[in-house]
């Protein structure tokens, strides 16, 4: 039994008398297997949140059905909610109550006992911070508390909508650790994001949503390959020469301009090999720069709408996606 299954899920917003109807989600057939970490990737406005709203029965589909853990989300919601942990998008907590009290309410509602100290520690929220009203929290602290609230009651399915927004690199690392630990316990994790690096780092499979439609479902390795297909390494050598790098099977193209070397790889992991190889051969490198595929490049690969050998170029590689949403980061479509 899949943890999440949608069948022809569609959401259309009526444009009124003069406006045009907007289809936010179109005939979506989504299957998330039990126990997997599923990345739900798409640019802002792709319909991710609308889909999640329908999964949680916050919004009603125009047509189609959705099931969580084998139960219809509309007719059997009471059999679902105590087994599902949710970090919704656009949420807020009870500002007038303390962080600890918010967490206690979550435990009361789930009908479970919670080891608050351990849970707070897990999400990286200090005990004295938990005693303060949530209204005084920063976005990152609120996000940590909300994540803790989603974890209350050891859910079988975690639905995290843009969980890394507002988190600093430290928080993002913790989030990944938590997702991995939950997956280890057998929890299914549904992780939505518009940042490629976030999804790539933790997910087993990835579904790419664009314009309300699922354009691709692939493993992360498959996604890496697609990303690698447009991965470019720019090297500056001390001496202008023609080094032999093209013998690596993952190198698809080498361009030489004076002492500048532009190496296109089909697999992003080849970039490190190329650099190591050059150093081994005694070449002295003055500078190493790398462009990784942006989310739009990935879309282009899957939808076949662009030349994959000519990346438009995202941000710089090497930060492993541990950047805040607020700054232009790798693979972000603004």
């Amino acid at each position: 039994m899949p943890a999440i299954r949608t069948d022809g899920l569609t959401k259309r917003y009526d444009g009124g008398l003069l406006g045009t109807d907007v289809t936010a989600v179109n005939d979506l057939d989504l299957v998330v297997r039990d126990g997997e970490v599923y990345g739900f990737l798409g640019p802002n406005g792709a319909g991710k949140s609308t889909t999640i709203d329908m999964l949680l029965d916050y919004g009603r589909p125009t047509s189609g059905t959705a099931e969580l853990l084998g139960h219809d989300v509309q007719t059997e919601s009471e059999r679902i909610s105590d087994r599902v942990g949710v970090l919704p998008e656009g949420y807020s907590l009870y500002d007038r109550l303390s962080g600890r009290r918010n967490l206690e309410l979550a435990a009361e509602w789930q009908g479970v006992d919670v080891d608050y100290t351990t849970l707070l520690e897990r999400v990286g929220l200090a005990t004295d911070a938990a005693a303060r009203p949530v209204g005084d929290y920063s976005k990152g602290m609120t996000q940590r508390l909300a994540l803790a609230m989603a974890l209350v009651g050891d859910p079988d399915l975690l639905i995290l909508d843009e969980p890394s927004s507002g988190l600093d690199p430290n928080g993002i690392r913790r989030l990944r650790e938590i997702v991995r630990a939950e997956a280890e316990r057998g929890t299914t994790v549904f992780f939505s994001s518009h940042v490629l690096g976030q999804v790539e780092a933790v997910c087993d499979r990835v579904g790419i949503l664009d314009g309300g439609e699922l354009v691709a479902v692939d493993t992360v390795d498959g996604l890496r390959e697609a990303a690698g297909a447009s991965s470019v390494l720019e090297l500056t050598l001390k001496e202008p020469q023609q080094p032999a790098v093209a013998d690596d099977p993952a190198v698809s193209d080498v361009e030489v301009r004076g002492n500048q070397l532009r190496v296109t790889c089909t697999d992003s992991r080849a970039k490190a090999r190329v650099v190591a190889d050059l150093v081994d051969r005694g070449h002295e490198l003055i500078d190493v720069d790398s462009e990784s595929a942006s989310l739009s490049d990935i879309f282009a690969v899957y939808t076949g709408e662009a030349d994959v050998d000519a990346p438009t170029g995202g941000g710089k590689d090497g930060n492993d996606g541990a950047t805040d949403d607020n700054e232009p980061a790798e693979g972000v479509i603004a």
Binding site: Y58, R60, S81, G90, S92, Y94, E108, W109, Q110
Partner: protein, 294 residues
């Protein structure tokens, strides 16, 4: 029972609203001020305890619905807009639990707020004059509370039925002004259309029922049972065709309806009307809420 959980949480959260306690403070201060002025100008000191109680009952017509609107109008739409409803509903609460849990929670808040507010006002009356008779005190307190709960139910229903804060506020304030200013005039208008003349000192019994379907008038009817003298409407519109020299005694309902008062003009029927106001708008609001997207 998740309805009680929602109610508990909501009470805990809403009871910390500064707005509610601000208005209650204004109410208490206002009553205190009015009582002091009343003592200063009154020549018959022996009637002043009852006067104080009547004063509290009179000004409650205005203050209670105001407090109730403040307590209730944001209860659901506020959480809907802020997004905390998305958290609340991700736990095992249905939308029905949310609406009726909120209703119970906010009814608790208004009961506490009005209990404290009118309790303090009566204490002030007791300190500056003398404590009114305890039976009357309890009666007026109960009437005020029932009125508050009824109007809170209306506000919670509005809050469940609309999508934006602005709309909730507009509808709630519209209802407040409608019941305070328009209802009686509308009832007289209906009477004029139905009978061809404005209601006089004596009028058909159904006209008085129509008036009493407003929560404000229903409250007045219930509270009337516990105060000396006639509890007047806060805003006297003077639409009824009643001679100017009519005494307050002549305006008592038993003198205006021919024969025995029908059951629907009894005090308990007015109390029932307030209960209906507490529940029915919330049910309507719930039905709208249940059908819509967050």
């Amino acid at each position: 029972m998740t309805l009680t959980q929602v109610a508990q949480k909501d009470f805990e959260d809403a009871v910390r609203s500064r707005m509610v306690w601000g208005v209650i403070s204004v109410f208490v201060a206002f009553i205190g001020f009015v009582l002091l002025v009343a003592i200063g100008t009154s020549d018959s000191a022996d009637a002043s305890a009852d006067l104080a109680l009547g004063m509290i009952a009179l000004f409650s017509q205005l203050f209670v619905p105001m407090v109730a609107v403040i307590v209730g109008y944001m209860s659901i739409v506020g959480e809907r807009r802020s997004g905390s409803l998305r958290v609340l509903l991700s736990y095992p609460h249905s939308r029905r639990d949310v609406v009726f849990g909120k209703l119970v929670g906010r009814a608790g808040v208004i009961t506490l707020a009005l209990g404290v507010g009118s309790g303090l006002s009566m204490l002030i009356a007791g300190l500056v004059i003398e404590l009114p008779e305890i039976g009357s005190v309890i009666g007026v307190l109960t009437s005020i509370t029932l009125f508050g709960v009824g109007f809170t139910g209306l506000a919670v229903g509005i809050s469940a039925g609309v999508r934006t804060r602005a709309k909730a506020m507009a509808v709630a304030i519209g209802a407040l002004l409608g019941f305070l200013l328009v209802w009686d005039a509308a009832a007289a208008g209906v009477y004029l259309v139905a009978t061809g003349s404005l209601p006089g000192l004596e009028a058909e019994a159904w006209y008085f029922l129509l008036k009493r379907l407003s929560p404000v008038n229903a409250y007045r009817a219930v509270a009337q049972g516990f105060v000396d003298g006639r509890l007047q409407s806060f805003f006297q519109l003077g639409i009824e065709d009643v001679p100017a020299d009519t005494t307050q005694d002549q305006l008592a309902l038993s003198n205006r309806v021919d024969g025995e008062l029908p059951f629907y003009l009894s005090n308990w029927f007015a109390a029932l009307t307030l209960t209906v106001w507490a529940v029915v708008p919330s049910v309507v609001g719930y039905v709208r809420f249940e059908r819509s997207d967050l």
